[in-house]
């Protein structure tokens, strides 16, 4: 008797005893050779799983179950508003990052030959006139922001009028209100960045609003606007809010909002 252990996985011996045609033999030998080196079997299993997943029969949705699609299809755009505002946020984030390469939040005198133009104003003017696709980029950023805000408002109305905020979704409703407020703050801080007349006087309104908060008004005005009239500190702070603080906060809150929707499921139309 041999002292050597019997090899249960001697694939060559297995190949010999199988009595295969040359084509089959070559195929199997190649497969074994590749599998020993690349663990092909794992990837084949993955593919197999994918194949069965793709060919699975889809479960019936609520509206299919009750044959409501013919009555409900025209409401579906309203049900997609939440997802749409997320996508608009992504569009705004990408175009905003590209704009950030060229924008500078400085209220110092700018280089453009316009009376009273600051650096911030002239970088925006440069983006719009000199930069390739810059005009479109700013337009895209602005429209994505406007459309996102509109979509968020309409999304809230849809949720309200279909009663989708009811138990067990109260917490997500409140998170949604926080997100809506943050979206408006996002819009406001961005509105101030070009530092044109509208931006300056909107900043003035903001300062006055925070000053009218009882007790802590002056403190809030100094914290948020860096003083009691719009200027370099205001622009700097709005820039940091817009490109640093709010993106992190809003992205996190959106993730929580969507995570809750995923966990709690969709409140479909009844």
């Amino acid at each position: 008797m041999s002292v050597e252990r019997k090899d249960d996985h001697d694939h060559d011996a297995w190949l010999e005893e199988k009595d295969l045609t040359p084509i089959e033999h070559t195929f199997l030998a190649t497969l074994v050779w590749l599998d020993k080196r690349l663990r092909l079997v794992d990837y084949l299993e993955l593919l197999e799983t994918l194949y069965y997943r793709v060919n699975l029969q889809m479960p019936k949705s609520h509206t299919e179950q009750y044959n409501l699609d013919n009555k409900f299809w025209y409401w579906y755009p309203l049900y997609s508003l939440g997802f749409f505002s997320t996508l608009a946020y992504v569009v705004a984030a990408i175009s905003g990052a590209l704009l950030g390469f060229y924008y500078s939040p400085s209220a110092a005198a700018g280089a453009v030959d316009i009376e009273g133009a600051t650096v911030a104003y002239s970088t925006v003017a440069t983006i719009m006139t000199d930069l390739n696709f810059g005009f479109f980029l700013r337009s895209l950023h602005r429209w994505a922001a406007q459309v996102m805000t509109a979509a968020v408002f309409l999304h809230m109305l849809r949720v309200y009028f279909t009663g989708a905020y009811k138990e067990p979704r109260e917490v997500n409703w409140i998170i949604g209100i926080v997100l809506l407020s943050l979206t408006m703050v996002f819009g406001y801080t961005g509105y101030l960045l070009p530092w044109d007349q509208l931006a300056f006087w909107a900043g003035q309104i903001g300062v006055e609003m925070s000053l009218s908060i009882p007790l802590i008004g002056e403190w809030v005005a100094q914290l948020v606007f860096g003083g009691f009239s719009p200027g370099q500190p205001t622009l700097q702070r709005m820039y940091i809010f817009h490109v640093f603080l709010l993106p992190f906060v809003v992205t996190t809150v959106i993730a929580i909002h969507l995570g809750l929707v995923w966990m709690q499921g969709i409140a479909e139309p009844h």
Binding site: M58, S61, H62, Y79, S80, F83, F84, L87, A88, V91, G110, E115, G116, V124, F135, F136, R138, S139, L140, R142, W143, V147, T149, F161, T162, G163, Y165, K166, E167, E170, W173, I174, I177, M184, G187, Y188, P194, W195, D196, Q197, L198, F200, W201, A202, Q204, I205, L211, S212, I213, P214, S229, P230, V261, W262, G265, I266, A267, E268, P269, H270
Partner: protein, 254 residues
Amino acid sequence: MADDEHTDDAARTDGTGIVPPDDETPTWRERKERTTGLSRLTYEYFERSRREDQDLREESDYVERDVLAFPVWPHELIRNLALTSFFVGMIFFLASTLPPHLGAPANPSQTPSIILPDWYLYWSFGLLKLGPLNPDLAILGGEKLMADRTYGVVANLVVVGFIAIVPFLNKGSARRPVEQPFWASVGVMGVVFAVTISALSMKNLVPLDSSLLFDLTFLVPPIAGAITYAVLKTMREGYMYDLNRRYYKLRPPK
């Protein structure tokens, strides 16, 4: 104590100190049942809720009303992707056809005749102009309790606060506006008020007498709400009529 541990050599033969399970080893279920205090309460609650869920599933004849939620994947997400990819295309279309305007550079010494924030802040801006509603108290000799500006900021907080507590005021399984005419009309009143208060915020641009505009701002929303309420009540009567008409199975004609 130390001696006891040293006598049990069998448990440490593999060097890890892990005891292999035998007949005496409690299952996880038994371990959970044996716990006390908060973990025991947690265990009991989870068992109850699991049983409740299972009972509901078994007893349900799966009418619409029993269904609380549907999974996001696949239907909702696929449908949303299809619709919103079109909407994103619309953003690009708008961006390329209607580029934004860049106004004159900031000039602190020249106040423009029209100062407005972006459109989505009009409602908030309008709430800052509620000065005439700020009560002046006789006790204080006609003085106001709050400055008008403070009053406006408080009005903002009240509106947002009310919207936040809606889920705790409106409970029950009613979903459609016809099923809850009151809350639907509150919603319509809110939407119309958002529009009228926005109009008030730019009253120098609206071709109406400003005191008339102020009155309309507060008169139109309740009227719209009342109309909505009446319409939804009527619609509900119609629904109930349809339902009642089909409720009894009638004897077929001879």
